[in-house]
Structures are given as structure tokens and as C-alpha cells.
Symmetry: C2
Subunit: 157 residues, 2 copies
């Protein structure tokens, strides 16, 4: 939450910039004196002037989110000067691609199960270890072919 503790001491930004913290200071609600590193980081990466401009550009109710996202980006860039938070984006993008592939493969397995291409198992071993030894048992009836290419009884089952 935005701090309003600037009445007693200058905000972290004004203290860092060695200037008098006025009641209408644009930084004060978002850079409380007890979090000096937050301003030091955004100052190092973006510069005080750019942060001030950006805060004036956005709506007052959006300023806290804007400051927090700037602080996140600044910290990421200080930790990783080459990639900054773009490194996190790359990691997440690879994770999304990997999970989507795993999900597609698992869904394909489920479809094969429902089409009976993979036999069910009744014990802890892998399905494939059972080979074709587990066959479905149907009562004697007429048979049709389904969308999986399997035959199924045409009666009401």
C-alpha cells in the first residue's frame, strides 16, 4: 500500500536526492523513508526524472502499481544487467512451451486410453508392461467400427 508517512521525515526519494520533501511530492506516497533501496534501485536504472515523468503520465490510482513494477524491473536489472526481467520472461515462455507439450502428450495418451490403444492395468506396473494380455471381454453381440478404428457392439450396452 502507498505510504503516507512523509509528514515527519523526507521520503526515500527526496532523502536520496538531498532535496526538501514537499507535501505534494510525487514520490513520497510510494517511496517511504523506511525503504531507501527501492528508490535507489529505480534511480540507478531509470533515473529520478524518468520515474517522475512516468508517474505524472499515469492516473493517481495506477501510480502504486507503476512504482512497484518499476521497482521489480530495476531490481531484476541490477541482479542481471544483461537480461534484467526479460530473462524471467524467457524462462517462463520456455516453461509454458514445455508444459503445453507435456499436456498435449498426456491428452493424447488419454485419448489412446479411451480408444483402447493402451490397455488399462490392474496393478502398479506401467500400462505398456502388460502388453496385450488384458483384453476387454464383451458378451457375444454384433459389432460396428468407432472413430478410433475399433469395433464395438452395436447393441444397447
Amino acid at each position: 500500500m502507498a505510504s503516507s508517512s512523509y509528514s515527519n521525515s523526507p521520503c526515500a526519494a527526496c532523502k536520496f536526492l538531498r532535496r526538501k520533501c514537499m507535501p505534494d511530492c510525487i514520490f513520497a506516497p510510494y517511496f517511504p523513508p523506511e525503504e531507501p533501496q527501492k528508490f535507489a534501485n529505480v534511480h540507478k536504472i531509470f533515473g529520478a526524472s524518468n520515474v517522475s515523468k512516468l508517474l505524472h503520465e499515469v492516473q493517481p490510482h495506477q501510480r502504486e502499481d507503476a512504482v512497484n513494477s518499476l521497482a521489480y524491473e530495476a531490481e531484476a536489472r541490477i541482479k542481471d544487467p544483461v537480461y534484467g526481467c526479460v530473462g524471467a520472461i524467457s524462462v517462463l515462455q520456455r516453461q509454458v512451451i514445455r508444459l503445453q507439450k507435456e499436456l498435449d502428450a498426456t491428452n493424447a495418451d488419454l485419448i489412446r486410453y479411451s480408444c483402447n490403444e493402451i490397455p488399462n492395468t490392474h496393478h502398479g506396473g506401467a500400462a505398456s508392461s502388460l502388453g496385450n494380455s488384458h483384453a476387454f471381454y464383451y458378451p457375444s453381440t454384433n459389432w460396428n467400427n468407432d472413430h478410433c478404428g475399433n469395433r464395438y457392439p452395436s447393441g444397447d450396452i
Copy 2:
């Protein structure tokens, strides 16, 4: 790839800053004159001085990646002044959580299939529509219980 086209005309940074582009210009290899917007964006968000400092801090072979990640962040911040590329991180994080949940649920379904809690189907209808009418058929043998709580033949199947 880093451009080396600064021999004829000033790089985009020096042109933007209205200064003479020297042969050892730190910006020139990464801000070719034909991409003026790239420098304009990083200048608006980070400031030329901060970009220059950052380029001097990283190894020469890392500078191209550093500039490209700065350009990505700058463009994201111009498009979305409140969240910048942190917005993309939030979207990706939610996507990872959703995919992981879907994968867990699909894997749980697969386990239920392998434990025979969901019967296979031999036609286009849902597995549940078959009820218990499809039973596995095993040859007469001795039975044990598996980790699914099902009985299985104790013989070598």
C-alpha cells in the same frame, strides 16, 4: 546482430543526441541509423546516460543482448506505462499455473485409467456412458491387490 554501419552516418543514438558519432561510440554497434525508434525508446525510459553506464558494465560480447533486452523493456513500458513487461510476466505466471493444474488433472485421469477407475471405451461415447458393462477379462488365476486397491492376477501376465 550488431550493426557496423556507423562509418557513413552517425548511429541512431548520436543522431538523436545531436552529437558527433566517434569510431569508439559505445552505442553505434547496437543502434544503427536505420532503427531510430530503438534508441528513442530506451532513451525515453532509461535515459542515454544509464544505458551507456550499463553497456560499460557488461562484457562486450553481452552488449547486444543487453541492448535488445533494454529495447524490449522500453517498448513494453511505452505500450503499458503502468506494468511494462512486468505485465507479460504476470500473464505468463498465470499461464504456467493454469497449465500445471491442467497437467496434474490429466495425469490424475491417466492414473485412474491405469487403475481401471475409468473404464476404456470402444466407441465414440464418453467412457462413463459404458458404466460397468465392460469388464476386464482375465484367465482364471490367483489374485492380489495393487496400490489402486484393485485385484490383479498374481501370475506372470
